[in-house]
């Protein structure tokens, strides 16, 4: 029981850190990669909570396709966020 709790605490900490990094980055490419890391950690958490079906969907859609769509959107617009 205790190793699982420790692993879950580590993953939740990683989720908070990556979620804060997504907001903090001014480089949108780095923010997209941080979002991919967030999705991957979330899929591991789903797998630990015994929902492997949702974990496959999250890893495929969240970490793969959404990052690709963001990369294409960054390619079409600007890479850096502007200061207001």
């Amino acid at each position: 029981m205790t190793p699982f709790l420790l692993l879950q605490a580590l993953i939740l900490l990683g989720l908070i850190v990556t979620g804060a990094l997504i907001i903090a980055f001014k480089d949108l490419l780095a923010a997209a990669i941080a979002f991919a890391a967030f999705s991957l950690l979330l899929s591991i958490e789903f797998y630990i909570l015994q929902a492997p079906d949702v974990a496959i969907a999250e890893a495929g859609i969240g970490a793969g396709l959404t990052t690709a769509i963001f990369l294409i959107a960054i390619r079409g617009t600007k890479r850096f966020e502007e200061k207001e």
Binding site: D53, I56, A57, G64, L65, A68, I69, I72, A73
Partner: protein, 156 residues
């Protein structure tokens, strides 16, 4: 605009493995976690990798919009006609007439804990394959249309 040669080569090498793993998830949909949608999303991720790594002019020769639209239509029609095929045997819509007949996907599931037999579950593998093909076509068409809409700046 294309990415560096390292990224392009990695995408080229990784693409067939991604397709094979997605096909595995689709075919084993009635035995293991995952199914048509998840496997189709994994296959579309492989295609997305190739689309992101290469320039738009290079990718249109390998992944065509019309082919992906045809795949989407084929998947939807497979699902529809697999559902309607029960009517031929005087059963309702989506009736599982292929289960436990001893023919294609027709084996009886063994009693107790077992490693799983691929040749079971009747109509469900056909529905999974239909959904997988449809999701692959649909998601790839979305990515291709997004990429064709943006203006590529010319970089030396």
């Amino acid at each position: 605009m294309k990415m560096t040669k390292i990224v392009r080569t990695t995408a080229d090498v990784f693409y067939p493995f991604c397709l094979v793993f997605g096909l595995y998830v689709v075919i084993h949909g009635h035995l293991t976690p995952g199914g048509g949608f998840q496997g189709g999303a994994v296959m579309a991720t492989g295609a997305a990798l190739l689309i992101v790594a290469h320039a738009y002019e290079d990718i249109t020769g390998r992944i065509r919009k019309t082919a992906m639209k045809i795949l989407e239509a084929i998947g939807l029609l497979t699902f529809l006609f697999a559902g309607l095929s029960g009517i031929l045997f005087h059963r309702p819509f989506m009736a599982n007439w292929m289960a436990q007949t001893g023919k294609l996907f027709g084996n009886t599931v063994a009693h107790g804990p077992n490693p799983g037999d691929l040749n079971t579950a009747g109509l469900l593998p056909l529905l999974n394959v239909g959904v997988g093909i449809e999701v692959l076509g649909g998601l790839t068409v979305i990515l291709l249309y997004m990429l064709s809409g943006i203006k590529e700046e010319k970089k030396p």
